[in-house]
Chain length 415, copies 2
Amino acid sequence: MAKEGVEKAEETEHMIEKDGGKDQESVLTVGDTKEMRAVVLAGFGGLNKLRVTKKAMPEPLEGEVKIRVKACGLNFLDLMVRQGNIDNPPKTPLVPGFECSGIVEALGENTKGFEIGDRVMAFVNYNAWAEVVCTPLEFVYKIPDGMTFPEAAAFSMNFVAAYMMLFEVANLREGMSVLVHSAGGGMGQAVAQLCSTVPNVTVFGTASPFKHEAIKDSVTHLFDRNVDYVPEVKKISPEGVDIVLDCLCGENTGKGLGLLKPLGTYILYGSSNMVTGETKSFFSLAKSWWQVEKVNPIKLYDENKVIAGFSLLNLLFKQGRSSLVKIVVDKLISLYNARKIKPLVDSLWALEEVKEAMQRIHDRGNIGKLILDVEKSPTPLMANDSTETSEAGEEEEEEEDHEGDTDKERMPFIQ
Amino acid sequence: MAKEGVEKAEETEHMIEKDGGKDQESVLTVGDTKEMRAVVLAGFGGLNKLRVTKKAMPEPLEGEVKIRVKACGLNFLDLMVRQGNIDNPPKTPLVPGFECSGIVEALGENTKGFEIGDRVMAFVNYNAWAEVVCTPLEFVYKIPDGMTFPEAAAFSMNFVAAYMMLFEVANLREGMSVLVHSAGGGMGQAVAQLCSTVPNVTVFGTASPFKHEAIKDSVTHLFDRNVDYVPEVKKISPEGVDIVLDCLCGENTGKGLGLLKPLGTYILYGSSNMVTGETKSFFSLAKSWWQVEKVNPIKLYDENKVIAGFSLLNLLFKQGRSSLVKIVVDKLISLYNARKIKPLVDSLWALEEVKEAMQRIHDRGNIGKLILDVEKSPTPLMANDSTETSEAGEEEEEEEDHEGDTDKERMPFIQ
């Protein structure tokens, strides 16, 4: 993804050249075709690196679909991107966001299968958090009539990733057990719902205690995310579990592997542990990301265990597996139409509210997926909370961030 | 397995206490119920540590089946056991062997489902290479009428392991590709046959050139095991393969992982590289076994790859998964009855010929499985080749083996 990311970032840089510093508008009329609002990440760091600005509107190249965006998904990965806490981070400024839903507004050449006006959801290699997105045909999927735009934006990444991990990487079958962390989040809920499509699957989940009541129907056994889940799981299932999905990292790899039954599969799909606090330098976080415990294949042999990594974005944008993902999306839409799965939307946020939305993910306040609703106006209370405060000073501060942990001086966004 | 191994070894030690030094007999009559012939490994090391001797015949405990053995399977693992090149090796002397076929001769208490006279195949936690074996009920399976005893002895370990790796650990489906090493061996042939039960599966195999003609119908693309298979595979399939089954070790883990397509699965199931030569000390081999390259889960995440280890014996004897294996055996017997798979037997050997048989595996001369045929007399030519030569001297030499590589003075068994 790194390479594509860099290319996109350069493109972004070029595009905003003429637009920097312009004031944002809360609503853009359809007639205003040359500019669009977008969330821009000015540099890696805290929430104050995000702002909404106007940018030149992209036009579709050959094989691309131009989408008038209605809703965008906000993922934990976006917090990592904001902190620059990913391998080979792209250059800033950039427009974050990897998924959106909306209406096809124009088509590049050689884009069969879509028509203007189609309701679609799409993956984008950055640039999703904008009023208009262009992305190659292969990453665009029509959405069923009954699915709302926020649902569609909450659907693609979480459900595709959950499905592929459970059924392609692991081999979830009747009677198995699954452990998922952050069970109350968008991914956790996708996992829980997909598990419910297989008879007699036990789901173990960790989540903040205040979420337990809300998600107890989807998760068989819920544990407080602040306590050690290993003894809790073993109390219920002394032999362990068949599948561990780990969005955490570091010490959890060993713990997750240790919890596996023979022939069980541990899948590392993310790293929410890496985004531990707004007050920490992202460079100290990046360090721990790379210090993850390595695995001896002989141990896997002795214990009959499987360890896997899963990155949907790499699969799509680095490894050219969009045709495989398309098949999975079709299966998921069938499950949606059969009312077996339904994306759980936590809340809708205006583009201007992206910081509050991120803070909510960071504080683990969400139950289900956070959605940026492009047509939503910021709530009056938040509208005064300027996204441009002390811009120059922050830019200077950024240089120091690279050297050490100066973030202690930063104020949390929501006080 | 270590724990059970040690226990069995102690039992063995006790059993042969009164029998040590007795001359072997080539045929034992049925009436002679108190003693039996067995292959005994006197200590870890070269072929000269093996001999055939008389031992007290075991009687079935509660839940055990007593089998009059007709044929035993000889696996690469047996060479590793002989060299002591396994984790926590059991104490010597011991009777090697993990699988056999034969006729039920007696039943312990609480052994429902079997009758005296039943034709069966069985897993044993050591002690298979004997005229009589007792093993718990859960490791015994009836064999179909059409299956010969040598076929049955060639069936259980290789086909069960191949099936579980392809269909339980990995998820072999139509159109996928599989790389298997030692494609001409018992395991390689089981893998190739099972791959042929799924439409449009491409099998890449490495094997000694002289075997290519014999196995070319079962393997789509054959490579000389002495050349680097990576560029050869990439020439045909630039994206790599979906499943790599690796019975080698060390540098091959990295090579195997590198050959995987995204979402591909690498399975380490053995370590034939560890048995590199009769002239090498098994302690230097054990060292390389433990120096296998470790895997960073982050790399798996970036590349969307899966790494697994598979040990059927651990699954059976350490991890209590016999009921799962039973289901697999039933499926395999259905495939056998449908004539979709058929164990390939390379050659039959008398117990007294176990050294020659091992040498043949070591020299990679076999195409298919080597079987110890318990009722077979040694061929006259080999019968003179005493298995008891200079026994005392060797025992003294063994101490030195622990310190360094003194094996150069050993003569190869077949000259």
